[in-house]
């Protein structure tokens, strides 16, 4: 089973946001690392280091089945993500706006998998509530409106 379209869509939104934000900051990490780190820091407080580590390890295991590009990625003992490809493919904003993105993109799949696990265990409302500290409200509002359009 692959990451759900809703979670991929939201993961892509977060990555797009960080890609834009990253342009203005130095040093520039990959959007995937930036999103992952924000999630880790945000969730560490709530689930603890061990709790996030188990969640991220499971998400990576699932994501690797879908995205061979994640083959070298690993989660360290403190929950950080290492071993992503040297250079992630640039996000195509135009395609993102058109609602398209390459399904093989490892970063999107990994983030979508973490979000998917959170949603599975906690439900959508609580998952988004827990992440609201890390990203501005419009990211979540866009998600809501995107879901609304699909409905």
């Amino acid at each position: 089973m692959t990451a759900t379209p809703e979670m991929r869509d939201f993961a892509h939104r977060l990555l797009t946001y960080e890609a834009d934000a990253g342009k203005a900051s130095e040093p520039m990490d990959s959007p995937t690392l930036r999103v992952y780190e924000k999630m880790r820091q945000s969730l560490n407080e709530f689930v603890g280091v061990a709790g996030f580590l188990s969640l991220a390890t499971r998400a990576l295991a699932l994501a690797k089945r879908e995205a061979p590009s994640l083959g070298t990625a690993r989660i360290t003992a403190d929950g950080t993500l290492q071993g992503l490809g040297e250079r992630e493919p640039q996000l195509d904003i135009d395609r993102e706006r058109a609602g398209e993105y390459p399904s093989s993109e490892g970063g999107i799949i990994l983030i979508a998998r973490i979000l998917g696990l959170l949603r599975l265990f906690l439900g959508e409302a609580l998952t988004f509530s827990l992440l609201r500290n890390a990203w501005p409200g419009e990211v979540f509002d866009d998600q809501s409106s995107a879901n609304g359009r699909k409905a």
């Binding site: 560490n44 407080e45 709530f46 689930v47 603890g48 280091v49 061990a50 709790g51 969640l55 265990f121 906690l122 439900g123 409302a125 609580l126 509530s129 827990l130 609201r132 500290n133």
Partner: protein, 504 residues
């Protein structure tokens, strides 16, 4: 010192229905409380209810989880409760996991971490769940008592109302220095009584205010913990105190035997064996009240409301229309693990909902059977509290009770509860002239006069109908096997003048 010099202690709502009443209005602000009990007794749920009821973005709640249940699983289950509002996270409620600190450091580091978070967030509520797990880690530099003392001191200064949650067994309560530090100690118990689980809570200690002593039953539903005070939430609520008005049955001869009817606010017991018409009499009592504009409640335990109403229809009594008009509620209270307090809560809610003046409990035997076995031992005591509470607010209660027919005795009840009742009407079978006929007698009326007559009655399509005059030509009627005498002057005994006391 004048009262103006005394500090006012603000009380915070517990968020647990019924618990505010038990703790004396709410929990004291800035108090340091321990919620103790065995695993699965509802400690975490109770703490969550308090947190969700009091946390605001300006004064948030910090919920520290330590070892034990994983945070994700805890919230996965807790969010199933209706009080859980995900929108309150993380702005008003923050969950902070301290397991790493506990595993890698000592209690001093835990205290340091809590201190840091509290200073940063300025919370109104702090929960540590479960503080007991911290002490199970060996080689702590700071013992638990010292940790708790310092934590209590710090959190009080930071104006936080605090809860420590701990797993404790009953025998750990005594001589435990941890509990001396706490301002409040709420103990949750759950025990298996045959096939039922009985949950009870006790406010063992609460500084600064009067809590209701004793064990109070509670239930965990999808709304969380709900507590049922032993005082039924009626402390200081003497609303609608009873008058000396007489309430009639609508059976003229019976009302006459009762000296005009039962006194408002009385507890009436109708006792008799199966088929003697107890429920019919109870239904007529309610129907007559509705005719006089007095809403009523019928609590049934042995048959369903629809069947009860249909039987009334066969007696020419319409219970359907008043139900639609909000003048009557038939409560069906049948679950097998009820406590009296829960039953009372349901009845009181209904009484307040429709402003009921008359209540029928049909029957006490069914009521007892509906209770969890663990509560049956307290049935008489609970019944006393229930009758006292309801009659105190002006409700007139008619309870039916089935008694075994005996030809050597004339019992009023198998529960030895006649002392709880103001008035007793006894129905029984008698063998007369080759027929099993029915007689009725008013045994007792605490508040006034009543006839001493033994009257024969029948149950007809119009309900209970009293036949003729008192039976004077038989002796030994109450034995059930009377002997015919030669006396033929059947006459009614004149009633004493109103206002004179009954000799009974």
């Amino acid at each position: 010192m004048s009262t103006r010099d005394k500090v006012a202690i603000h009380q915070l709502p517990t968020g647990v229905p019924g618990l505010d009443e038990i703790v004396g209005g709410g929990l004291p602000e800035y108090s340091f409380n321990i919620i103790a009990g065995e695993p699965g007794s509802g400690k975490t749920t109770l703490a969550h209810q308090f947190v969700f009821a009091n946390a605001t973005p300006e004064r948030p709640a910090l919920y520290f989880t330590v070892l034990g249940e994983s945070s994700i699983k805890m919230l996965r289950y807790q969010q199933q409760y209706t009080f859980f509002d995900p929108a309150k996270l993380p702005g008003s409620i923050r969950f902070i996991n301290l397991s790493q600190v506990v595993l890698e450091n000592d209690l001093g580091a835990v205290l340091e971490q809590i201190t840091k978070e509290v200073e940063k967030a300025n919370p109104a509520v702090v929960v540590v769940d479960s503080f007991r797990t911290m002490v199970r880690k060996p080689q702590s530099d700071m013992d638990l008592q010292s940790f708790i003392q310092r934590l209590a001191l710090f959190l009080a200064s930071w104006q936080a109302t605090t809860f420590l949650i701990g797993e404790y067994a009953e025998d750990e309560l005594r001589d435990n220095p941890i509990f001396t530090v706490a301002d409040g100690l709420i103990w949750l118990r759950q025990t298996a009584e045959r096939n039922s689980i009985v949950r009870k809570l006790q406010v063992i200690k609460l500084r600064g205010q009067n809590s209701v002593p004793g064990l109070h039953t509670f239930r965990i539903t999808n709304a969380g913990v709900q507590a049922f005070s032993r005082t039924f939430g009626l402390i200081g609520h003497l609303k609608n105190p009873p008058t000396h008005r007489r309430l009639t049955f609508g059976i003229p001869d019976l009302d006459k035997m009762l000296g005009g009817g039962v006194r408002e606010g009385d507890s009436v017991l109708v006792a008799g064996s199966s088929g003697t018409g107890k429920s019919v009499l109870a239904t007529q009592f309610i129907a007559e009240g509705i005719r006089h504009g007095e809403p009523g409640i019928i609590a049934v335990f042995e048959e369903r409301p629809q069947a009860y109403a249909e039987r009334a229809t066969s007696l020419g009594l319409d219970l359907e229309t008043p139900q639609k008009d909000g003048k009557l509620e038939i409560l069906y209270l049948r679950p097998l693990d009820l406590s009296v307090d829960e039953t009372m809560h349901s009845i009181l809610d209904a009484v307040q909902r429709i402003g009921a003046k008359r209540l029928v409990i049909d029957s006490l035997a069914g009521f007892e059977m509906a209770l969890s076995p663990g509560f049956r031992a307290d049935f008489r005591e609970s019944l006393y509290r229930m009758i006292f509470a309801l009659t105190g607010i002006g409700v007139t209660i008619l309870s039916t009770v089935e008694v075994d027919e005996s030809f050597t005795e004339f019992p009023f009840s198998t529960y030895s509860i006649s002392f709880l009742t103001d008035d007793i009407i006894r129905l029984r079978y008698v063998s007369i002239e080759g027929q099993l006929r029915k007689i009725m007698v008013v045994i007792k009326m605490r508040g006034g006069n009543h006839a001493k007559d033994i009257r024969e009655y029948e149950i007809t399509s119009k309900g209970v109908v009293i036949l003729g005059n008192r039976l004077t030509n038989y002796q030994g009627l109450i034995s059930g096997i009377p002997v015919r005498t030669d006396r033929l002057d059947a006459m009614e005994e004149p009633l004493p003048k109103p206002g004179t006391k009954s000799k009974s």
